[in-house]
């Protein structure tokens, strides 16, 4: 296990070497402590990871509150912390549209799937679909849905990580990508779900504390009145009052609805989130964890809103943070980071930077574990070995897959350097909403669903989401340089999800002879009662 200590030693001197101010030293110190603690956890977890239950589901021993924090940690990525506060800084109200969409998926997850997931499944959401559908077929689809979602999400996170760390710590892009990639491989392959969960919990607490402190410092100057804060912000912002109501983000109703659909139902189909519901002991804890997660996430989005408006007040016209063209140094995504410096000086900037780095690390680890489980369990054991594989081999394949995914993330992170990858998060959500969510939802609620319906319909949903993004304005026009988009909307969610549901239902109805009502009844019974 010397590798853990070796790595920590490596990070300390290099990050302080690369830094030139006290904030960077402090950030490196805080981040160094975070890495040290999480590697220690990984070291202890690695001694326990001899069985599947520990590796995939932390032995089912995570409490409701802990899991709520871990889920919130998985969901509050650097993209939502820096991205949404940056969007609010840039355009005010429009930033709120994203936060609401990201949040509203949560009550739906709690009401419709959280408990049933725990009662029906063991380690991956494909366990749930295969309680009534034919394993080998449906797991190909679930594994594909998981991997596509995970890989696009990973690329977006890695590219964001590289450029963010470059700005925050002054490290070269490649170096940052390698640090993130290697640490994530170590957490996931040695520490499994136990380490990944604790990394997530620690990071969630740090992020909530940091964001709270930032918001309190902003509100403190406006006697804790949102009204006064908004008034001052609209006086300062070049677009004045118009930042307080809908702006350019939503240009037409169809796009608005389509974005909303992808955000809500995509959340309910994100594999790394769904996986967390298996780490608790029973359905009641699963319910409670979804409640805590919703509370933390909701609170966090209100904070990012306050932080964004605070940034308008404290950073606009402040030459310390603007480049000669009057843009924020290092892009709008740096709004929260600069604000921490403006309000709390070098030390607080260091703290927030370290938290942002820890956030990226934790989120990519969660994603990698979900992807590795899809390969090791769904694909290797049930598709290739037809369910006949021993536990040791299954874990070994999952661990190798996590290394493999880590390397893919590093390579893709380097390939996509400097590209606009924001659409990839949207794509991940669209695929999750058009593949994972429909099959999961129909598995637990529709008695006429058949394996063929779910599999072919699910693949149609998957490919239509990919195709619509490819032919849409972001890839076809902005990336490939064609003049007009073949698919006119930026967000394909509404269309690809409808196509998916429609195909699954039609194919299942045609495939009447393979209907299995008995298995559906057993599933229904099991989904409402504890599985012990």
């Amino acid at each position: 296990m010397n590798i853990f200590f070796f790595l920590t030693l490596l990070i300390f001197p290099l990050s302080s070497m690369a830094s030139d101010s006290s904030s960077k030293n402090f950030a490196a110190l805080i981040f160094g402590i975070f890495v040290l603690v999480t590697l220690l956890i990984t070291y202890f977890a690695s001694k326990k990871n001899f069985n599947k239950s520990n590796y995939y589901a932390a032995g089912g021993k995570i409490s409701g509150l802990q899991n709520g924090l871990a889920i919130a940690g998985d969901y509050m990525s650097a993209a939502s912390f820096l991205g949404i506060s940056g969007l609010v800084f840039f355009s005010g109200f429009d930033g709120l549209i994203y936060s609401i969409g990201f949040l509203v998926g949560w009550p739906i997850i709690l009401f419709l799937i959280a408990e049933k997931l725990k009662n029906l499944g063991k380690y991956t959401f494909a366990d749930v679909t295969s309680t009534r559908l034919t394993q080998s077929k449906i797991r190909i689809l679930s594994a594909s849905g998981t991997l596509v979602t995970v890989i696009f999400y990973l690329i977006a996170q890695m590219v964001g990580a590289g450029s963010l760390i470059q700005i925050l710590f002054g490290l070269p892009y490649y170096y940052a990508i390698w640090i993130v990639g290697l640490l994530m491989i170590i957490y996931v392959s040695f520490g499994g779900m136990i380490a990944t969960t604790w990394v997530q919990i620690i990071k969630a607490i740090l992020l909530i504390l940091g964001a709270t402190a930032l918001a309190v410092m902003v509100l403190n100057d406006y006697s804790f009145s949102i009204g006064k804060l908004l008034e001052e912000a609209s006086n300062v912002h070049p677009e004045k009052k118009s930042i307080l109501y809908p702006g350019k983000l939503i240009s037409d109703p169809i796009s608005a609805i389509s974005l909303g659909v992808a955000l809500i139902f995509g959340t309910a189909g994100l594999p790394h989130i769904l996986m967390r519901f298996f780490t608790v002991p029973d359905a009641k804890s699963s319910r409670i964890s979804a409640f805590y997660a919703t509370t933390f996430i909701g609170y966090f989005y209100i904070l990012t809103f306050i932080i964004g408006f605070g940034a308008i007040i404290f950073l606009t016209n402040n030459n310390d943070y603007l480049d000669p063209n009057n843009n924020l140094i290092g892009s709008n995504n740096m709004a929260a980071i600069h604000l921490s410096h403006a309000l709390g000086g070098d030390i607080f900037l260091g703290f927030i930077s370290a938290v942002a780095f820890a956030t990226i690390l934790a989120v990519v680890s969660g994603l990698t574990l979900a992807g590795a489980s899809a390969i090791g369990r769904d694909f290797y054991v049930y598709v290739i070995k037809k369910g006949k594989s021993d536990e040791k081999k299954e874990i070994l394949v999952s661990k190798i897959s996590s290394v493999f995914l880590g390397i893919i993330a590093i390579v893709l992170g380097i390939i996509f350097q400097g590209q606009n990858v924001a659409f990839m998060v949207g794509l991940a959500f669209a695929v999750a909403a058009s593949t994972n969510f429909p099959i999961l939802f129909l598995t637990i609620s529709w008695k006429n669903l058949t394996t063929n319906g779910a599999m072919y319909g699910g693949f149609i949903g998957l490919f239509s989401a990919l195709l619509f993004v490819f032919l849409g304005p972001t890839v076809w026009v902005e990336t490939l340089g064609f003049k007009n988009a073949i698919f006119p909307y930026k967000y394909p969610g509404l269309f690809s999800m409808s196509i998916s549901f429609f195909s699954i239902i039609i194919i299942s109805l045609i495939d009447k002879k393979n209907r299995d009502e008995k298995r559906f009844m057993e599933l229904t019974k099991k989904s409402y009662l504890e599985s012990k």
């Binding site: 936060s99 009204g227 307080l244 109501y245 109703p253």
Partner: protein, 89 residues
């Protein structure tokens, strides 16, 4: 829901938990999509401000949806813990 499950309690459990789950989901979706539809079709509705404040209807309803979502998950947990869990026995 299904006649072949003879257990009375189970039928009751399924009925009430579906009722609660779908009703609450429906409320959340209605609130959210009304917000989205106003954004899409009549964004000017969100321009007005609350009396004596800089808070616009848009910002108010946005923050309201976040808070009500958290509140509804709380309601769901209370109903499940106090009522539905008893039917499971």
């Amino acid at each position: 829901m299904n006649k072949k499950i003879n257990d009375n309690n189970l039928e009751k459990l399924i009925f009430y938990s579906n009722l609660i789950s779908y009703l609450l989901s429906f409320i959340v979706l209605i609130l959210y999509f009304s917000f989205i539809l106003i954004l899409g079709f009549k964004p000017e509705l969100f321009h007005k401000t609350l009396p004596n404040s800089s808070i616009t209807y848009g910002i108010f309803s946005g923050l309201f949806i976040i808070i009500i979502s958290v509140f509804l998950t709380f309601i769901y947990v209370v109903l499940s813990n106090l009522f539905l869990d008893k039917l499971k026995k």
